[in-house]
Symmetry: C2
């Protein structure tokens, strides 16, 4: 195999209660990438469509992760990467992760899979760090493993694959505003009340239990964020109205996707997720802000070969 | 049925990472209680053996929980309670919970089980509040449900039953020192670093996943408390040495039981738990402090009729 075309999915990090550790993978939104073996050594970005991103390997997220892996494996060939970018950078649904994960996944496939998924995530984190200034895996893990993931620890990297109840669907809205990751981080307190932390870890434990037991009522009770959302929601116009509309339309939960501005909701059944989409479209249709919405089954496969 | 004899077990709250929400039930340590229907209405404590506790219903933990339930159900009879107390009050292994849970469990049985386990816990919390000045369920839930439990919320009361891997054994040491619950609470910070909270909820999520998948390596990785133990360990003499000895003897984890002074360890297999017991006995044998140790399988049944 000399060339491979892959789908690298968008992802939702944090999942309400699990700031910095939980994430899940989307199905209908993602980038496509072509990775091609070359006689010439090294990593080259040869095509980028959809968004304006740097071609220089060391300045491109997909290039940096590929290079980290390449310099470790030292294969007897090089690689060209073409990126067909559908996930808007800065949308809060893992745009940089899709790029960083896609290149290492593709190269690994072309080399006969020398690395496991955790090691792929490890190298992808090098690319992610270029975009977000810190090595984190809460979007990369669901992109690479699929389904719901829990990053137990980033250093050393330890990723848990959680079960995905079969009727779970996500609805997303991406308001086309810019939130700087630096601002989104700076707004968070360094210290939090112990009582809120207890509520949060009760919710994380409950959500993990709910995923294992396909208990949708408990998923609903657990999708509550008392730590991060109270600070970050002010960065997203009409967040409160969107959340209210989503819950009234039958969503199990609704919260900020990653550091925003996208907002996600989870629902039991595609029909409910579609109702939720309509309800949150109604909220944003009354504003001047451009937006896009999506409905997606939870993608239990992660990145895949097309 | 006019009379019932029950075993009301000791329990371990917090379980390292799950302060205020997680707990598990012990098998070999517990109180015995006899509950008897009487023609005379009301609740009476008629016998207490083992420890010096108040006979007045309103001043006795078992009396208060029984009375709360009694005043709600208004049955056409009264009840006598005999308490054979084996769990030392103030030991940190749920002594007051065993009393509070035992009386309501016994009365419920004698009345033909009108209440479910969550409702029993609700009434038992009224007795627990007498002992600890606040209504909490982290010892009551494992005593009543058995196995591992997660108290998702105390108000409204929501208890999750977690799975118990079959080879899991607990080792306990009770150093005979007094720690006042008020002191043990006062030593905790009101605010904690967000970064530590994230580590803690990653551990709680991981422990729940590990219990569901019987992953003993992950249980080991998850039984870490970066929030409470650093503050409370100073109240327990030789805590560090006990923990080190337990881990060197093969324990999966070792932490403070409830608010102490008891220390628990979890191990895979009874043989390892017994080795751990020997190792921690060696630590305390070199001190002037009196102590007791126990090895117990995790009790998946909870309170039971004898």
């Amino acid at each position: 195999m000399k060339e491979i075309k892959i789908f690298s999915p968008a992802t939702v990090a944090n999942v309400a209660c699990g700031f910095d550790v939980l994430g899940f993978c989307l199905d209908t939104i993602g980038d496509e990438m072509v990775i091609r073996k070359t006689v010439e050594k090294g990593i080259r970005i040869t095509k980028i469509e959809g968004h304006d991103l740097p071609y220089k390997t060391e300045e491109n997220v997909a290039g940096v992760s590929a290079l980290a892996m390449y310099n470790d494996l030292l294969p007897d060939c090089g690689f060209e990467i073409e990126i067909y970018k559908n996930i808007k950078p800065g949308s809060g649904i893992g745009s940089s992760s899709a790029s960083a994960a896609g290149s290492v996944y593709g190269i690994n496939e072309l080399l006969g899979k020398p690395l496991d998924k955790t090691k792929l995530t490890y190298f992808a984190m090098k690319g992610e760090a270029l975009a977000s200034k810190c090595e984190h895996a809460d979007n990369l893990a669901p992109a690479i493993f699929g389904g719901f993931t829990l990053v137990k620890s980033a250093h050393p990297l330890q990723i848990l694959e959680l079960p995905t109840p079969s009727d779970l669907y996500a609805t997303l809205i991406h308001p086309q505003i810019e939130i700087k990751t630096s601002e989104s981080r700076a707004i968070l307190p360094k210290e939090i009340p112990l009582q809120n932390a207890i509520t949060q870890w009760a919710n994380v434990g409950s959500l993990v239990h709910a995923l294992h037991t396909s208990n949708y009522d408990l998923i609903k009770d657990a999708l509550i964020d008392v730590v991060i959302e109270p600070h970050r929601k002010q960065l997203i116009p009409h967040f409160g109205e969107v959340k209210l509309a989503a819950m009234e339309a039958g969503a199990l939960g609704c919260a900020i996707s990653g550091s925003g501005p996208s907002i996600f909701a989870l629902s039991k059944s595609e029909a409910t997720a579609t109702n939720v989409e309509k309800a949150i479209r109604d909220v944003y249709s009354k504003t001047d802000i451009k937006f896009e919405t999506y409905v997606s089954k939870i993608n239990t496969e992660g990145i895949k070969i097309l």
